[in-house]
Amino acid sequence: MAEILLPLLVLCPLAASLVVFISAGRMGARAIGTVACAGVGISAVLSIILSVMLLSGPVAGGLQVTLWPWMRVAGLSADIAFTLDRISMVMVLVVTIVGLLIHVYAAGYMRDDPGIARFFGCMTLFVAAMLVLVLASDLLCLFIGWEGVGLCSYLLIGFWYDDPANTSAARKAFYMTRMGDVALLCGLLLLACATGSLRIGSVLASVADGRLPASGVNVAAAFILVGALAKSAQIPFQAWLPDAMAGPTPTSALIHAATMVTAGVYLIARVHDLFAMAAPVMALTAVLGALTLLMGACTALVQSDLKRILAWSTISQLGYMFLALGCGVWQAALFHLMTHAFFKALLFLTAGAVIMRAGHEQDIFRLGGLRRAMPGLTAAFVAGASALAGLPLVTAGFYSKEMILSGVWHVHFGLAREWTLSGHPLWGIALLGAFLTALYIFRCVFIVFCGKAGTRAAGRTSRLMGIPLVCLSVLSLFGGVIEMPDTLPSLHLFSALLDPGTPLSHADEPVWLVLAGALAPLAGLGVAWVLWGRPSPVMREIPGQAGVIRPARTGRGMDVLYDRVFVQPFRLLAWLTRLDIPGHAITGTGRLTRAASAGILGVRAGLLDMLAMRATGTARWAGHLPGLFQNGRVRWYAAWIAGGLCAGLAMAVLS
């Protein structure tokens, strides 16, 4: 019974995708939406049935189905095989249920688009590929899903391919994740060479046995980490995700919440035993995660595009997950992944509805006062925003973030003998990140929904789009109570679900730890209220800094690098010196701070100019030499090859 249901779980979306693709143009929009939703819906029902069977019934020990052997060559065998265990069960539930809600919403959102067949074909294929990735019991089979997810994201980001900006965004996403894919493939090949199999269970078993040398484990883990970083848009691959906003909003929701970016987190959680043997890579993961969460939060603070704010917030939240993975609390990472899927899908879908009704205006400074025109959407967005900020007790985000924070507090990295690294600085960064998260998301809430009216809202949100929003609101508010800190009524349903053997218990957790985690978002909310929320807010726009902020908003490539390395800290400094003093006190010290920040800006400009001059000078000098060889003449290239052959043979002869 269960052996039949498990392949069906993947086949349903795949079949729906095929039906939609093949029937392109011959089915009405409603029929296409119905088929797609039905495919994902059946899959969601199946996943619930299978979860019940796994938790209580006949297949309690995990389910393994081998469909067919893929390749058998000497030293390596690979099967198309699916495994349902507790980790993949959680992921399957998230992917199918959130995916179903997004599909239902998209059926309303994309109703009038001429390319709806292509859209739904790609969306269901996306879900199917993600399910393959999640369920695969073989790393090579997982790689199929990994590539399928990348392909579908490319197709969907470039969905409106008429605009060159969209296609270039799609290409950017494809290229950047491709770099990671190469690294992942290298890691897989290393593991395959070392263990002779890519079946996850046997790979982890042979790693745990110590059959692999420590350096091999470290290198393989590092390669897999690079793959996961690229997929999950972490430093240094973070640039593709904000551009991925070019696709339709349901696509963004699917990429950010359920499918694409969570794949990296899932992969590392899946092979956490491998990472547990590679302490330096774990520390690297944690540090990169912490940096990413801080950077994402800082950047989200200065964005003015509604969807871009959400995109950077995704990067930041994924940073939390990587931080948790790096600290070894992968249960917390998966828990945060789940709650994040709920509230980020909610935020994106609500933002899509808001933007749609406000006449496709995405600039938050032109929106405003939408509270009165669309109270339902406001409530949904505020619910999502509170969950993202992690307002204590009432939201799901609080519990998952709390779990990560307490895990980070307790971690010790044993990098080398006699040299351990405490997790307390990372905890500080994560706490600062929580404060900034609340600050930027409530900045967005106050500017968009409060204040004086901006654009006029038109139309109504259809019921088809409303129902998923209600479901997601409920989930993102109450979906987190299955796991609570010890100081609250100690409840560990989720970690017990994932890993019944070793429950996470922090009995010695001080109360102030939970209290700090609860107060940081509240502080962020308060500061956001003071700065943007009051009837006469301190700042609608940061005065006199428009010229500084613009490059941060539009910057690409080298600009982005400069922005991250030089501009952000300076601007943060300038921003703090100027604005940390709220309201009335600003007049007194205004002149002083202005002079100080002008000085800082001047130094910054001078520094940047100097660096740019040096960089161009060096580049020109270095570019001259290869330029002689790169003359574009095929015969010269052939001659160089022959010359190299001559030289190589001569070395062989003479030695």
Binding site: V73, G643, L649, V653
Partner: protein, 166 residues
């Protein structure tokens, strides 16, 4: 028998030299066919009759026909011949000739003659080749099929009629 082998090798080498020195493309193609046929003879003498058949059928048959078609399409004429003569001045031969000679000498030096009696050779039949091709090397055959597909697609893409293009 050895005389025939010597003759085949000589025809191969001379034919190849003629290919790279002709001014008219069709002549070069004909010399190339001669070269390939002589090479097929060499292959037969190496006991690889299957490879020799493939050489004749696919190389001398199919690929050369492709060349002939393209040359017919290009419609090269008298001015082309003159230009080829201009391009083939003795000075142009200097660098490539030296380079190729060095490569040849080094290769010959590296592949110093194998000593010892060769094992009694026996012909390798099609059966052996097929069993290997679809047994041990089946994955490689799959890869080659991908390569052929990629070649097909890219040739189609390059050669398609771009209306309104440059």
């Amino acid at each position: 028998m050895h005389a025939l082998a010597l003759l085949a090798a000589c025809v191969t080498v001379v034919g190849a030299i003629m290919v790279i020195t002709r001014r008219v493309a069709v002549h070069a193609v004909l010399y190339l066919v001669v070269t390939l046929l002589a090479l097929a003879t060499v292959l037969v003498m190496l006991g690889a009759s299957f490879a020799a058949m493939l050489e004749i059928i696919i190389y001398a048959g199919a690929i050369m026909v492709l060349f002939v078609f393209v040359i017919m399409m290009l419609n090269l004429g008298q001015p082309d011949s003159a230009r080829e003569k201009e391009w083939l001045r003795p000075r142009a031969w200097l660098g490539p000739g030296v380079l190729a000679t060095i490569v040849c000498a080094e290769l010959l030096y590296c592949t110093s003659p194998l000593s010892g009696a060769a094992p009694v050779p026996a012909a390798i039949t099609v059966h052996d080749v097929g069993a290997d091709l679809f047994g041990r090397y089946v994955l490689v055959v799959e890869l080659v099929s991908y390569l052929l597909l990629a070649g097909l697609v890219s040739a189609f893409y390059i050669g398609r009629n771009r209306a309104g293009g440059r």
